[in-house]
Subunit: 455 residues, 2 copies
């Protein structure tokens, strides 16, 4: 193989500067998660296929990357089956493992498998890549990171409050108050109440799926789709004012109190929203703009209570989450309520880049380079180099006595701030010539003065 | 599915305490890598199959996990081929992608693909999982992390010196001077010289493969295997003293000077070893015990110069590496020399655990828990809780007014040091009752005093 190598579409390499930016995002999120008592876990990239399928519906199952059994895998499939060329039938026979699709299902599996060792309520966070056989497009990848935090084993709404405060802490830190962003909140019980109030309780899923598209296709198309999905014209008409609801939180609640006055589940939803809002407001938010959006549905089938979504500028959702009452039921553990959020690291990456919000990453590259003028000078510099390193300063020596220009270009390209030049004068005096590559200034310093300067 | 869920054999979940230990290892290694001017990159878990195969030989190819094409993948295979049930033939047609087997091949691919953006010599480090369809056994997993550092684009032996100093720094830090460990070094040119000196240059690979088993099967079996592999009895007899070579570095070199006096490549190997030893010794090692082991071969086919291996106690190699002269040749970039090491995080994990060498991970769990006595007390505590968090203290409140015993058990199980009890007395006086869970002592403190205490 001598053709130019490539990587699969939808996957990416990350260069040093990209890694520095990504680590900055991950470290910020991690730091906040820890402050709120969350503990990190990791699960394997490869899960049993049967763990993953059937959790997000057929569409999700198709997006799962399957891992081929090792060895002579075809010997376990009959000739008849092979001739059928039925991929769907044959897949589970030749691929018993798969790459995780999200971090939520593996977490549910983890909780059930380790339930005897876990103290509930369990606050866990997990920052790992996931894989989806989605069509790659701008901002959508086949391998990407999720940054999830969940509290499982508690139905207290204080958990929702913590998650909203976490979102506020993370984005106050990352956006430095320079970007407006909206944290939308809703409750699946409100949606259930609405379906009930318009006499279409049996159509809750259809209503949710249609409403979820509001952002993409607009009110008229959503109303059209609702009709197509068998919602009566009368019911659709009743829904319309909900899409046009404006005003403060109190005004929206007052509307809902009337609209949902006959729906028990709807009233429960209102009560939950009011509790979460009231705690969040009295504790205060640093920069987040929290709004009630009763059209917020989110596609995920497993939410049963609170729904959360964060948006900024023209980007699609950069963070989402919600409460689920039966995530672990699939694995045999019933009645465990949980609530969680997931930061979309890749989109946050782009938002920070577009808005020039990354700090300088000084510690991530070499801070000091010793120029190599030849064996004698090199051997003089080596112990000094290790003195810098032992003082915690990222430093190196150019490994050969290459041309000065080449070595300076190396320093420039790598973003190295200080270059140390040692010739016979410097070896005699013990004073190193130190050049600041940012402003071009030169100084003569002892090694200890250099250490102080860099630190 | 309601049977107890499980994960694929050879894979693992990592609990919070395991994560804290693993992060400690990764962070130590990362910190040292950065001090030496290495920059982090990441590559996708999934590579094109053709990138990975044919780099480590047939045996390695079998250990690569393939990822099934998405969609109706079987439609692209002919009925005839399917009926053949020839897995080897059909695999590349239905699985164009695969999970990376190591970090070295993806790095070589990265370098070639991004050669115009890279400033050479390029010092990169990479800490990511790899996957191998190996038979799982104690200490051997199908998904595990590698922690690699390589310098590519420079044949200076100072790079070798840096890698040895890195090994010394990392293990001086992780072992805290409490464990003896050996850093063995050899040079593939010595092995080539030996093959030449015994008149069996054409059998270098056979000799290397056999010698590599010395640790596992002993001298006699190795000699036996050499005969089986077609090395003449005379040549085998000449090899024997090499296996019994003892003494200081100088004594071994003096032996080799004689043994390899007729071999140009052998003499080059000696010269390289002497240079590396001399620099390393004059700079000094903190705790590493550096020894020349002329039987050190390491299986990896691509090493062409220095070979390095670290061992401790009865564990198999915990770190290994070496120099390669043609890693990127496969991808069309010739004559680029590199040298690298890889820390085996999983084995290091076990060594530290067996020897009780982990620090306490105070910052990794909740430091302060507010006991929840009911709504009034809870609402009083909430602003105090956020005061702690804003001061950077990991803290939480129990989310419901559960029984005191349950809440205290929660604190105990999670390893929380301070528990705050607030009843009517405390709300009146503003002095919180703070219980130290480690020694059972109680104090009455204001919130600011508590912050000072924990910090």
């Amino acid at each position: 193989m001598s053709s130019k190598p490539s990587i699969p579409k939808g996957t990416r390499d990350f260069s040093p500067i990209e890694m520095a930016r990504r680590n900055y995002i991950f470290d910020t999120i991690k730091g906040v998660y820890k402050k709120y008592g969350f503990q990190q876990i990791e699960t394997p990239a490869v899960e049993n296929l049967k763990t993953l399928i059937g959790t997000g519906g057929d569409e999700s199952d198709k997006l799962i990357f399957k891992v081929l059994n090792s060895g002579d895998y075809l010997s376990k499939v009959s000739q008849e089956e092979l001739i059928s060329q039925n991929s769907t039938l044959i897949t589970p026979k030749i691929a018993e493992k798969a790459l995780r699709y999200d971090l939520t299902v593996p977490f549910a599996r983890f909780v059930v498998q380790n339930q005897n060792d876990i103290t509930f309520p369990f606050r866990r966070f997990q920052i790992q890549p996931v894989w989806r056989a989605d069509r790659p497009q701008k901002g959508r990848y086949r391998e990407f990171y999720q940054c999830d935090a969940d509290i499982i084993g508690s139905n207290s709404l204080l958990n929702e409050v913590d998650l909203l405060k976490i979102i506020d802490d993370v984005f106050s830190s990352l956006f430095q108050g320079k970007l407006n962003y909206t944290v939308s909140i809703n409750n699946r019980k409100i949606l259930a109440g609405i379906a009930e109030a318009i006499g279409a309780s049996d159509k809750l899923i259809d209503i949710t799926v249609a409403i979820d598209k509001l952002d993409k296709i607009g009110v008229d198309k959503v109303l059209e789709e609702l009709s197509t999905r068998g919602i009566s014209e009368e019911a659709v008409l009743k829904l319309k004012p909900l899409f046009e609801l404006n005003g403060t939180f109190e005004e929206k609640i007052s509307f809902l109190n009337e609209f949902l006055s006959t729906s028990e589940i709807g009233k429960k939803g209102i009560e939950e929203l009011e509790t979460v809002f009231s705690y969040t407001n009295s504790l205060g938010l640093k920069t987040a703009n929290l709004v009630l959006d009763i059209t917020l549905a989110r596609g995920l089938g497993y939410y049963t209570g609170t729904i959360i979504e964060v948006k900024v500028d023209n980007f699609p959702s950069i963070t989402g989450g919600g409460r689920y009452d039966d995530l672990t039921g699939k694995f045999g553990l019933k009645d465990v309520s949980g609530v969680g959020i997931s930061f979309g690291a890749d989109r946050i990456y782009d938002v920070l880049l577009d808005n020039d919000l990354y700090p300088e990453f000084k510690g991530d590259t070499t801070q000091v380079l010793f120029i190599n003028f030849g064996k004698k000078e090199q051997d003089y510099c080596l112990p000094l180099l290790f003195k810098l390193r032992d003082a915690g300063i990222n430093s190196e020596i150019y490994p050969t006595a290459a041309k000065m220009k080449k070595q300076m270009t190396f320093a420039n390209n790598k973003g190295i701030k200080y270059v140390v030049l040692v010739g016979s004068n410097e070896m005699e005096s013990g004073k190193l010539t130190v050049k600041n590559m940012e402003n071009g200034e030169q100084e003569n310093l002892t090694i200890n003065e250099l250490i102080t300067l860099v630190q």
